[in-house]
Amino acid sequence: MAIEILDVNTYFGPTPTERADASAQSLVSTLQKNEVQWCLTLSTYGVLHGDRAGNIETMTACSNFDRLIPVATINPMDFFGREGQVEELANLPFEMFRFFPHRQGWPMSFSPFADIVKRLSAAKSVPLMISVKKPGDIGSLERVLDGYAQAVILAGVAPDTLAECISVMKNQPHFYVETHALRSPDALTVLRDTIGIKRVLFGSSAPGESMAAALRFVKRSELSTDDQLAVLGGNAQALWHGSEAR
C-alpha cells in the first residue's frame, strides 16, 4: 500500500526576514510540486504577532485548502491564566499544539508553559510539538513535561542535540523527533538503531527551508524502503489515526 507523505513541520504567512510569498496557497503549491499529500501547519501570525489572531488565520487557511491540517499555538508570555482560554482552543479541531520558546524568548522551564501543558493534558488528547535548539533544551523539556502522557514531538533536533534527544527518548516512549535539522548523513540510521524508526517523523520547516532537500534527505538515506515510508508518512498516520480519514 502506498504511503501518503505527511510533513509535520510547515508554516505559512509573512516573516520579517524570509521569502515574500509564503502564503497558504504557496505552501499548497510547494506540497504539490514535491508530491507531499498533507502537512500540519500554522500561521506565522500566531508565532510572531499574537496567538489568537494566528490561530484564527490557521483555521481559515486550513478550511480553504484540504491538504493543510491545522496546528494551534499559544505564546506562554501572553498567557495570563484566564480560565477557559486553553480549553476553548482545545475544543477547536486542531490536530497539534506547537510552542516556540527560542523564537519567542522564553525558557523551557517557564512556569506559564507548564500551566498550559497541564491544562491541555486535562482538556484534549493531542500531540505537542516544541522547537529545541540548544544542548540542555530537551532535558529541561523532559522535566517540564513530566506526567504529560500524550505524544511530544521534538522539532529542530540537530547533530549537536541528537545525543541528548536519544538519551531522553529512551526514557520517554511518547517522545518523537522531527527530521528537518538532522542533516548528518548517518543521523537517521543512528535513530533507527537507538530509539527505533517508528518515532521519527518527516518535517521540512517549509516554505522557508527547502522541502525538496528535506525529502531527499530521507529518500536517499540508507534506511530501507519500508523505514523511509514509515518516516515519510506511516509513523504520522499511526500517531494521528484520523489523518487518513480526512
Binding site: 548528518s184 517549509a206 527551508e209 534527505f217 538515506s221
Partner: protein, 246 residues
C-alpha cells in the same frame, strides 16, 4: 550530474564515519556522484593544523580527484607561512582555508600577513563564514586583496543574503553553498550574481550532500547549464584543473 565538492572534511566523527578513512572517502565520493573533492582536515580545523594538513596530503590524489585545502591558523602566523610554503606549490592543494578563532570571525588585521603571502601561490583563499559577521569581515579582506579570489564557505549561514551582497560588490568573492537550507537561497544568489560565482560544497560528514544537491536541482530559475557550472565547471575553472578532471 557529476559533482566537484569544494568543501568537505576529512575526519571521523562520533555520528558519522563516512569520511574517516581513504576507503570511506572513496565510497562516499561514489555514493554522491562526486568526481572531485576538496578536503579540509577535521584535525586541522579543530586543533592541530600541521598534522591535519599532512594527513590530507597523504591521501590526496589528483588522478582520483582527491584534493586538499591547506588549513592555516591565525594564531600561528609563522607556522602558517611555513604550511603555505610546504603545501601550496603542490597540485593536490587547491587553496588555503582560514577559520576564525573560537567565537569570532576571520578579520583583516588577523589575516593580512597570511593572505598577503598567499599571492605568490596564485591560489584562492577559502574563509569559513557561517554568519553575517564573518561575511562582513571576509568582505573587508576581499576588498583589501582584490587580486586574490576568495571562497566564502557556508556563504553566511542563515545570513546568506549578506553573502550575496558582498559577492556582488566584490568580484573576487565566490560563494560555497553549504550552510542554510533556505528555499530561495540558490535562486536568489544566482539571480544576484549569476551561477558563475556559486560553488557546490557539502560540508560532509556534518551535512548530507543531498541537501545542497536538492536545493540546486529544485531551483526553478536555473538552467541545465547553470547547474553544470555550479556542480563542477566553476570549481574546475577557479582551481584551473580542467585537465585533471577530464
Amino acid at each position: 550530474m557529476s559533482r566537484f565538492d569544494v568543501f568537505a572534511y576529512y575526519t571521523d566523527t562520533a555520528l558519522s564515519h563516512c569520511m574517516a578513512s581513504r576507503e570511506q572517502l572513496v565510497r562516499s565520493m561514489q555514493k554522491y556522484d562526486t568526481s572531485a573533492i576538496a578536503l579540509v582536515s577535521g584535525v586541522a580545523a579543530d586543533c592541530d593544523f600541521v598534522a591535519g594538513n599532512q594527513a590530507v596530503r597523504d591521501i590526496a590524489s589528483t588522478s582520483e580527484g582527491i584534493y586538499g585545502l591547506v588549513t592555516l591558523n591565525l594564531a600561528y602566523p609563522e607556522e602558517s607561512l611555513e604550511q603555505q610554503r610546504l603545501h601550496l606549490m603542490r597540485r593536490e592543494f587547491l587553496a588555503c582555508v582560514l577559520f576564525g578563532k573560537v567565537g569570532s570571525p576571520v578579520t583583516l588585521s588577523d589575516a593580512s600577513e597570511i593572505v598577503n603571502a598567499q599571492r605568490r601561490y596564485a591560489k584562492p583563499v577559502a574563509i569559513y563564514a557561517p554568519d553575517a559577521e564573518a561575511v562582513h569581515e571576509a568582505a573587508k579582506i576581499a576588498a583589501e586583496f582584490n587580486g586574490i579570489k576568495f571562497i566564502l564557505l557556508s556563504m553566511g549561514g542563515d545570513d546568506w543574503h549578506g553573502a550575496g551582497t558582498a559577492a556582488k560588490r566584490h568580484l573576487n568573492i565566490y560563494l560555497e553553498l553549504s550552510g542554510s537550507l533556505d528555499t530561495d537561497k540558490v535562486s536568489h544568489a544566482s539571480a544576484v550574481l549569476t551561477a558563475r560565482k556559486l560553488l557546490y560544497g557539502s560540508a560532509l560528514p556534518y551535512s548530507d550532500p543531498e541537501l545542497v544537491a536538492a536545493m540546486i536541482d529544485d531551483a526553478s530559475t536555473l538552467t541545465a547549464s547553470d547547474r553544470s557550472r555550479i556542480y563542477s565547471q566553476n570549481a574546475e575553472s577557479l582551481f584551473s584543473i580542467q585537465a585533471d578532471t577530464d
